[in-house]
């Protein structure tokens, strides 16, 4: 009691995240990559981390190595070694130590052998510390059932449905009450006999509904754990998919016990990433362990087979639960920001709206693309969707859409104006944060429409497949940069004022401007004869945007390695901020 958890939705939602790698995903296109002059073979950058992607069989091999090791040391069979390892959270040293200390204790705890002497009338099982005895439920059951169980001593718990176990008295399954003469039964080493139908239903339910890999005997209070061979037999035939799910659960458990490994959080994916460089908590203040399992989209779904932008590569953070790439900001700051956004969600909700009023004529403007350069249909006024300022001034050195101009201290004397100032400050960053996410999504929506048109063009004009791919690459790059930009606002919100922050914001602004220019190009109407010119422009801009993104990522990553970033709030794992920097 006293503690419980309701399944809450996570406070972050990153379904819109995706990323592209520099290598080509689906085809060898030498002349195509030549266009983009992206170096695919360069060595690791400061914002990249070394990791390896493993598929399920590769992880199973690691598990088998551990099992073989334990068999060699303890001289037990593989089924016992596996159950001992799972019980010990795959900590081999601790398992060996405990086994050497007292093999029986750990064999009982792992559900391999029954405790001695086996108590026939065990009291209702309570948790450790509660020795209160109550009327035996086993007894209740036997008075309820018309006959009690009988069975001859089974030699092992291998799943052997057989009537030979039955004596003359007819067996009634204590769960389904079936007493047919041809009833097939099975039991673990404890001899608690049940019909095979009930075993199959029970095992299926444990695996399917409860995602449980440790399956105990069905008898009340019996702690024996079914060996894998028993489970496999119970699931033979129709249960094949459940058996596969069981093996996935074993892999997931193994991965969760190993700090060097993390299971891909994308739905339906069974890959694992190994990243020892980010296994320790202390490493997370100097590096953002963005990793990818290498797969794209939802495995098995049709979209994964196409090259559609929708089939995003499985990026996630190795260091925290955020299931996307949150570079350049480190985990602790990213988490603080998401928590702040969740806490303030009501205040900030209005920002997500897709319509605003023209700052000049007040007519309603709807945003339906990723570009933030808006032109009012009615009065032709050009303005910025984010700051609502005139577009003409964007891109000039004296105008900064990204930087928050802090009010001087004298403006905020009383508590009320202080809290208004702090809300304004937060909304500045949140507005831009949310806008990049929204713009990325709108760009993808728009591109989905364009993609179809481009494919048609390939048929009706002399353009080749490769020649119509430049848009896709550009959309992917723009999306990737928007994700970087998005997180730079989380970073800037917590950065202490000063030179370092200003340089950070200069890089941020340069990237933002480049991305907006690319986004504008992407919304140009597509006509077959204009394609070569558009292609050149888009390709050049894509290469430029890619470089700006590298600069932001690299400089921020170097800053973390050098300990250059100072915060305006207390951040887990970092030094206490200067009193003067606190906001």
């Amino acid at each position: 009691m006293s503690d419980y958890s309701l399944s809450d939705d996570d406070y972050y939602n990153d379904e819109d995240m995706f990323d592209i790698t520099q290598d080509d995903d689906d085809m060898n296109m030498d002349d195509y990559t030549e266009d983009f002059k992206v170096d695919t073979n360069s060595k690791r950058k400061s914002y990249e981390i070394e990791y390896e992607s493993l598929n399920q069989p590769a992880v199973e091999k690691l598990m088998q190595q551990d099992v073989a090791y334990i068999i060699g040391i303890l001289g037990v069979d593989s089924s016992i070694a596996a159950r001992l390892l799972r019980h010990s959270s795959w900590n081999k040293e601790r398992l060996i130590e405990k086994y050497m200390d007292n093999p029986n204790t750990i064999l009982v705890a792992a559900g391999v052998t029954a405790p001695e002497p086996p108590s026939v009338t065990s009291p209702i099982r309570t948790h450790i510390g509660d020795r209160r005895t109550t009327r035996s439920a086993s007894k209740i059951i036997s008075t309820l059932s018309s006959s009690s169980k009988t069975s001859s001593k089974a030699s092992s718990s291998s799943y052997q449905p057989a009537q030979t176990r039955l004596k003359a008295e007819r067996f009634v399954c204590p769960i389904c009450y079936d007493d047919s003469s041809d009833l097939q039964t099975a039991s673990l080493d404890c001899d608690h006999l049940f019909c095979t139908g009930c075993w199959t239903t029970y095992i299926t339910s444990k695996i399917r509904d409860e995602a449980e890999h440790c399956i105990r005997c069905m008898a009340e209070g019996c702690c024996l754990v079914a060996p894998d061979t028993f489970i496999q037999s119970a699931l033979a035939g129709e249960g094949e998919p459940t058996w596969a799910r069981f093996q996935e659960l074993l892999v997931r458990h193994f991965v969760s016990c190993n700090p060097n490994l993390k299971y891909c959080p994308h739905p339906g994916c069974t890959n694992t990433v190994s990243c020892p460089a980010a296994a320790s908590k202390s490493s997370l203040t100097t590096v953002v362990p963005a990793v990818s399992c290498g797969a794209r989209g939802i495995p098995g779904s049709p979209e994964a087979l196409t090259s559609a932008v929708a089939a995003k590569e499985h990026y996630f953070c190795f260091g925290c639960p955020i299931d996307s790439d949150h570079r350049p900001v480190v985990c602790s700051v990213a988490k603080m920001w998401l928590k702040k956004c969740a806490d303030d969600s009501e205040t900030a909700n209005w920002i997500k709206s897709n319509t605003k009023e023209c700052p000049k004529c007040q007519s309603t403007i709807e945003k339906n693309g990723g570009c933030n350069h808006m032109t009012c249909k009615k009065c032709k006024h050009e303005f910025c969707w984010v700051c609502m300022g005139p577009w003409s001034e964007h891109g000039t050195s004296w105008y900064s859409c990204n930087r928050y101009e802090e009010k001087s201290g004298t403006d905020a004397r009383d508590a009320q104006s202080k809290s208004r100032a702090s809300l304004e400050r937060y909304l500045h960053y949140y507005n831009r944060w949310a806008n990049h996410e929204q713009s990325a999504k709108l760009s993808l929506d728009l591109y989905a429409k364009t993609e179809k048109k481009m494919e048609d063009m390939q048929i009706t004009s002399s353009l080749t497949w490769i020649e119509v791919q430049f848009m896709k690459k550009a959309v992917e790059e723009a999306d990737k940069c928007r994700m970087t930009l998005k997180w730079t606002y989380a970073m800037a919100y917590y950065l202490a004022r000063g030179n370092e922050k200003e340089l950070f914001e200069d890089n941020q602004r340069d990237l933002e401007q480049a991305v907006e220019e690319l986004a504008e190009l992407l919304e140009q109407p597509i006509e077959a004869d204009a394609i070569p010119t558009l292609r050149q422009k888009v390709t050049d801009k894509t290469v430029y945007v890619h470089k700006r993104n590298e600069i932001v990522l690299e400089d921020t990553a170097n800053g973390f390695l050098e300990g250059r970033w100072k915060w305006n709030a207390r951040v887990e794992g970092f030094d206490e901020p200067d009193q003067a920097d606190l906001v």
């Binding site: 958890s5 309570t126 948790h127 209740i140």
Partner: protein, 153 residues
């Protein structure tokens, strides 16, 4: 194969009707295999002397492989017992209804366990997180993942 759930509940009901319920427990309603109600009171000396509670069992097609949803009825003027493992909305924090459920347990076995849980109560009080829990509780107590302490049955 006919539904295990229906066959099993038919059998349990038949035995209740022919052999009767244990002392202090009475079948109130069992019109179908979806929901049953029992009255429950603690016999002999206890903190709940003279109090009669109503227990509601809800079964899905996975019974008895998965546990029934069990709670005290708190409508029509009925109340749940004031007990450290019973919330004021009637939900019960008991491990045998959750991770320690065994398919060999029966409806009557659950009633007896809850009866003995009440009988052994030392102090009438609600769980410390009662208000917070009740505010957010799902309709079906099985949707809650209780964390059992050392004393929950």
């Amino acid at each position: 194969m006919a539904s295990i759930s229906a066959r099993r509940l038919a059998k349990e009901l038949h035995e209740i009707q022919t052999e009767g319920c244990p002392v202090g427990i009475n079948l109130l309603q069992a019109d179908d295999f979806a929901a049953w109600q029992f009255t429950i009171e603690v016999m002999g000396e206890s903190l709940y002397q003279g109090e009669v509670f109503t227990l509601l069992f809800r079964f899905d097609k996975h019974y008895p492989i998965s546990s029934p949803a069990v709670q005290f009825v708190v409508t029509d003027g009925k109340t749940s017992p004031v007990h450290p493992h019973v919330y004021s909305n009637g939900h019960i924090c008991a491990s045998i209804l959750g991770n320690e459920w065994s398919p060999v347990l029966s409806v009557i076995a659950v009633c007896l366990t809850l009866q003995s849980m009440l009988a052994s109560c030392k102090k009438k009080e609600r769980p410390p997180d009662n208000d917070r829990y009740v505010r957010h509780a799902p309709d079906n107590p099985k949707k809650t993942q209780f964390h059992y302490d050392g004393n929950s049955p």
